[in-house]
């Protein structure tokens, strides 16, 4: 792979002081970890993992609500696999644990699979745990529409979808935000388009490059960010034009707008962020698990977890008072829940690699 080697040389040759860049997509985090890029870029470039792992940012009180639902004998919970291990507010309590104790919790790969489970089990109430960002929202919307149009009345969505922009604005507004540029998530940008990320450069005044997921895609985006930083001219660049258009996927965005409306939403480690979630519109209220099944959300319990600071780049993972008590096997915060989260990586790999 000669391109990646030469791209790395090009990055090292850009005349800028050491910088901190943030990626806000779980798939970027995985791609960077799998290619082992962090040690190759250090010390010139430090890569921080922002709030881009959808299951990790789901707050403990939402997980608690799922756990409570899973105990109902008339309910089958359907979920993406990586939600199953995320802990609620009680240590070690997760859907995986509840399943072992007899709850009917099923792993699905698409929201449409959950509609299918509902068709096959007409006597049960099927709840789909709708987590994810803008990439996941359109398909989730189609599942709700399909249930409505084909009269599947036992399908319910527990909406926990998140919108990236309000979270990034909240992060950037914090006093100790120490990030010099943003690797924008390529697939969220496939939906929102270049237009959906213009605010990063224009309003947040941050250099921003939309990046794909090959090693070279990531390195090219890092290189372009460095050039922007050197010139002191924040702009939005699209380094993933093969999958991202200027106006985005208008069909997908229209579907989301038909079914959902923005609402305030709680993020693990970051607190309540206005307009950062998606709620079902009134037309689809019959499919809203919160309303139809009387889902109650408790107050989020206070925690010593400092993931919010780690995500902002304001605190190194090992300085969190829970570091070591919170472990990849028995995680508390989102940065430890995700296998490649900042805390999990530091815990497993130390500072050495």
């Amino acid at each position: 792979m000669p391109e990646s080697k030469a791209l790395l040389q090009a990055i090292q040759a850009v005349d800028v002081p050491p910088v901190t860049l943030m990626e806000v997509c779980g798939t970027h985090t995985m791609a960077i970890a799998k290619a082992g890029l962090k040690p190759l870029l250090a010390p010139k470039v430090t890569l921080l993992s922002g709030p881009g792992c959808p299951v990790c940012v789901t707050p403990a009180r939402d997980i608690d609500a799922c756990l409570t639902l899973s105990a109902r004998p008339d309910v089958i919970l359907t979920s993406y696999g990586d939600m199953l291990r995320v802990p609620g507010s009680a240590r070690g309590d997760s859907l995986l644990k509840r399943r072992a104790l007899g709850a009917d919790v099923r792993m699905v790969y698409s929201p449409m699979d959950a509609v299918e489970v509902a068709r096959e089990n007409p006597c049960k109430k099927i709840v789909f745990l709708g987590v994810g960002f803008e990439t996941t929202a359109p398909g989730t919307a189609i599942a709700v529409q399909t249930a409505k149009e084909s009269g599947v009345k036992n399908f319910y969505l527990l909406p926990m979808l998140k919108r990236l922009e309000p979270a990034l604005r909240a992060l950037a507004a914090s006093a100790d935000f120490a990030v010099d540029g943003l690797l924008c998530p390529g697939h969220v940008a496939s939906i929102l388009g270049e237009n959906g990320f213009q605010y990063v450069a224009r309003s947040l005044r941050l250099p921003a490059v939309i990046a794909g997921f090959e090693t070279e895609d990531v390195l090219l985006a890092v290189y372009r960010l460095l050039l922007q930083i050197r010139e002191g001219a924040p702009a939005l660049e699209n380094a993933y034009p093969r999958a991202v258009q200027r106006e985005g996927n208008t069909l997908a965005m229209a579907t989301v707008e038909t079914v959902f409306t923005p609402c305030d939403s709680l993020w693990r480690g970051m607190g309540m962020i206005p307009q950062s979630g998606l709620a079902l519109k009134e037309d689809y209220a019959a499919f809203d698990a919160i309303k139809a099944l009387d889902v109650c959300f408790e107050e989020e319990k206070p925690s010593a977890c400092r993931c919010g600071d780690v995500i902002r780049g304001a605190l190194p993972p090992e300085k969190c008072p829970l570091f070591g008590v919170c472990t990849p096997e028995d995680p508390i915060g989102p940065c430890m829940v995700s296998g490649e989260g900042a805390c999990a990586a530091r815990y497993k790999y130390g500072g050495s690699v």
Binding site: K5, G26, G81, M107, V353
Partner: protein, 333 residues
Amino acid sequence: MNDVITMDHGSGGKKSASLVQEIFLPAFANDALNALGDGAVLEGGANLVMSTDSFVIAPRFFPGGDIGKLAVCGTVNDVCMAGGAPKYLSLGMILEEGLPLDELRSVAASIAKAANEANVQIVTGDTKVVERGKGDGLYINTAGIGFLRHPGLSRERMREGDAVIVSGFVGDHGAAVMLARAELGIKSSLCSDCAPLTAMCASLAACGEAVRVLRDPTRGGVATALNEFVEDTPLCIELTEDAIPIRAETQAGCDLLGLDPLYCANEGKLVAVVDKEKAEEALAAIRRAPYGENAAVIGTVSARSPGHVLLLTRAQGTRMLSKLTGAELPRIC
């Protein structure tokens, strides 16, 4: 005979005997088993190697094998990794009421075929039946006994500079079984690598002390097996990503499921740490044997990062491969 397992088949009475007489004896007949004693009296007097394993896989039939073949290969390979030449197997079966007898026959036939290839005899066995809903169709336990053929295999004997060899494509079993699960709706022609490694280990035994340690990287995959070699030692294993044989289809299947081939189970592969002076000889010995034609040297033992397994990536980066934490769950992102 009814065509499904009923509680009567576990009664210890005539129905139980009919299973033995009509299914198991014809499939596995040999002098030790035919005696139908409570235990088997076996020939042999060398140092013995023994291992046991239980098999609960779902689905029971998967591309490239079934629970029966797996139950033979799993235990046979464990005996092989400990340096034994496997000779005898016990076979314990837990059947769920309602299991179709045709399915049991089919599993028995596949056990017989795999045992024959691995050159082991089923010398004692047991069958229990549990009520419907109390088991998942069919569980199997096998224990294996072998005679020590390749003494001294131990991770204690690993040295800096040793070569790390894998005997072929990595991750096929785990990927094939995950893809075969109906709910995923993915169609593939990928097969499990499930196979007995008796002949391969016999071939490797000729390399004697140059072979430091062997392991079959089943659950947790190659990454986890290699971690077990170096953890709590001053040694490190450094792998070269480009050198690791992975089928394009296995990689694509793992990409579709959000898994990593290095953490997917193998059921017909071994990893070996070998004296670097004899690495080519050991590689040739593996390649000569059945199932070894795609073997490759994938890394070396060093002292760079004690207790860790490192992967030198295609981008020339370094990635630490930790042990698998918990079962692999497909990711949404």
